[in-house]
Symmetry: C3
Subunit: 351 residues, 3 copies
Amino acid sequence: MTVTIKLGQLAEFLGATLSGDPDKAITGLATLQEAGPTQLSFLANPQYRKYLAGSQAAALLLKAADAEGFAGDALVVPDPYAAYARISHLFDPKPKAAAGVHPTAVIAPDAVVDPAASIGAFAVIESGAHIGAGVTVGAHCFIGARSVIGEGGWLAPRVTLYHDVRVGKRVVIQSGAVLGGEGFGFANQKGIWQKIAQIGGVLVGDDVEIGVNTAIDRGALADTVIGNGVKLDNQIQIAHNVQIGDHTAMAACVGISGSTKIGKHCMLAGGVGLVGHIDICDNVFITGMTMVTHSITEPGSYSSGTAMQPAAEWRKSAARIRQLDDIARRLRQLEKQVGEVTPDGNASSDG
Amino acid sequence: MTVTIKLGQLAEFLGATLSGDPDKAITGLATLQEAGPTQLSFLANPQYRKYLAGSQAAALLLKAADAEGFAGDALVVPDPYAAYARISHLFDPKPKAAAGVHPTAVIAPDAVVDPAASIGAFAVIESGAHIGAGVTVGAHCFIGARSVIGEGGWLAPRVTLYHDVRVGKRVVIQSGAVLGGEGFGFANQKGIWQKIAQIGGVLVGDDVEIGVNTAIDRGALADTVIGNGVKLDNQIQIAHNVQIGDHTAMAACVGISGSTKIGKHCMLAGGVGLVGHIDICDNVFITGMTMVTHSITEPGSYSSGTAMQPAAEWRKSAARIRQLDDIARRLRQLEKQVGEVTPDGNASSDG
Amino acid sequence: MTVTIKLGQLAEFLGATLSGDPDKAITGLATLQEAGPTQLSFLANPQYRKYLAGSQAAALLLKAADAEGFAGDALVVPDPYAAYARISHLFDPKPKAAAGVHPTAVIAPDAVVDPAASIGAFAVIESGAHIGAGVTVGAHCFIGARSVIGEGGWLAPRVTLYHDVRVGKRVVIQSGAVLGGEGFGFANQKGIWQKIAQIGGVLVGDDVEIGVNTAIDRGALADTVIGNGVKLDNQIQIAHNVQIGDHTAMAACVGISGSTKIGKHCMLAGGVGLVGHIDICDNVFITGMTMVTHSITEPGSYSSGTAMQPAAEWRKSAARIRQLDDIARRLRQLEKQVGEVTPDGNASSDG
């Protein structure tokens, strides 16, 4: 699939200053190193400035400072990465679904599907559901009873929404994601687990993105809540009653236990795990694979885990960690002894 | 969706002592803080006793001791949390599927579907499969050849059972779960991986719950076995030949490697990982994100990992961990030296 | 389902030396301990030699050395495990799909489906897709626009390929896997995440296996690339622009962040996580749940994390780790002090 757009049109679209031939045809986007003579590229990370001179790209998105010494064609913009983000959609080969309902879809008589929505093959839309204008529901999607998808949403093939899941506007949900599954609620009676019905729903704000095979459980009593602008990567687990603040982003494989609240503008790197019933304040960054076992009340970066080592050295470190309490006690003991023989010894003065 | 049940009816259902108006209408359940004047709530965790006085709830599930000083309506029961678990199902808005086969379902001529089972849209049921009485098979489910679902089971939309997966009675399987996938079996020949056919099946006991997007692989030769009453949360990975004892529960994102056996009444918190070919005895609790690298023969709690720190401090700790073997050796050396100059020095007496 | 093959036929198939009755009927495979009198077993791991004498198996796959003292029937081969791998497929009860298109499948007019391919119920194949000879596309699969599946591929039920995903020959993809999802690409503008279209595709080599619910995202600009012979277990996350070298294997729950490159013949154990934009050289082995935060340039084994302890002891170790920087400084201080009082003291001589 090829799209062709003239450089002058791209300048106009971006409000960029064009330095070069407005009639040059652009057929795609690529990195500085890989771009061919009809592709546009960009310089966002100063680290890649070294590739500027050798780039074969038809033209580049550049900051004014970088454009000064550059001989080739350029679109000068204040933020090349943001400009690339905007332009990328013009070259996206993702098929656009036509409005209308595929003849194989099964739609409950009392479900409401906007005429400007697109419903794919074998989709199932249950009683009382509401699909807004401009929404794409991919093939094999299941939209449960009374669930709502706000206007402009895009659901990849094979997305499942259980009943009573309300999704805001312009929400993107990737394949395999499941919203509204029954959370892990059981009461233990003499060793036997008794199921607790999960009677809450899920509430998803506007402009949210939900990744491949990500699971967001319904609330036990009230709703599980995902704020506006939240971005969830693939394979994430959001347990019942979790609340996530606006514009928080999580990389893949994050797991959040029940009833935990996360603030706004947080970033959780891949594989982070949070225990249940804790609060994370706004503007917290948690590095990859960190285990979060208590609330965080101060913005900032947090980590756990150990650094990778060659396995032979790691085995020694791991064995020593198990001796750490002993090591610390012996050190304290030594400090006492040494303090006795060295008159000015204040062994822990800098500790 | 609203259900209305009178307080007196709830008392009768639970065998509770009613203190208050038996004709009061209850329309739902909520927490102490969120319950409105037609909702029932409960006090299970003593920590929340402070919310008792201010609760707007129509009535509360209370222990006798808590009910004594309480002015509002109450259902007095021995275990309020267990009572809430039982009552929750009365207010569950989950749609109940009617018995019968959806006209779009594709069912092999020699599959057996009980007339009191419900088969959803676009379900596929293969040759020799058997669906018991009262079973719900959701839309888009796939039930492979010769697989069996015992009576009273509930499969959410989009559950996949490969061939030869035998599931007991009253088993709940959430959306996206896959039972019977081909385990990771390969023989390495000079660097090339040769696939080993996975000819075993999966055997699931009664009263099991399997979460969203959880995977249970089929056995390599014999069956992978999940005991009675086992509860598996979302995004769990159970490799081939694993055996899980009765009434064991696992939180989300747990991963269990091949041929590992887990005892009865164990609890694995979120993100725990177990290597293959080990045995975990009964009544073991493993805390979140622990890496289990060897068998456990004593009941009790087990952990690994490091505690979260601000990232700047964590970087120091992580660097020091890599020096730990050196630190321990230097400490030993110091103890020797100090022992020489302090006559009564027994540096490691308390270690 | 029962297959019966004579021992002599198996010997011929394997090119094995038969010691025993060529007409003995073999109906299946089992372990040494579990095999019954019509089942074949094998001895690969010397640890299990103790079960040789007591085995009820009809016959065994044995090395010449082990066959010498063995009284029962045996197929003598150089590598019993490899022989078992080859034979396992003869006894695989997995249903074989007949060639042809199920009447319920929805196939775009301009998609190409080889007459020797099998397309399951409710499969959707989009415009310009190409399905090769001998390919099985399971029920509920979705093959996006212009995607390609090379000859001999096997897709379990419910596999999703987005558009522009090119898969090589003889590739096996398990249920729930998603290839070509839109990677986690966002540009942050004043705290708001702006989506970047993911215009690359996915390129998968020959003889690859992809596990249950594994996700492989499409590239942001160029393709995400999976080499020949790569084996990916369940629940793995491969982010956009990742490149994986030939014959590398990953166990379940591995997560690989964007733009990371992994060499050939690597092995990643379960739960390993890699940050983005790093390079792992060929022949690297990473132990379970390791956090890989930088490139690896030397072949070998690598690890991170701490060893499991009883929770009470672990709490002490975890507390001490947070004091490690202090402990190391105090040790250094002590060494200085002791060096002053012990004339020959070179405290860090062995560190």
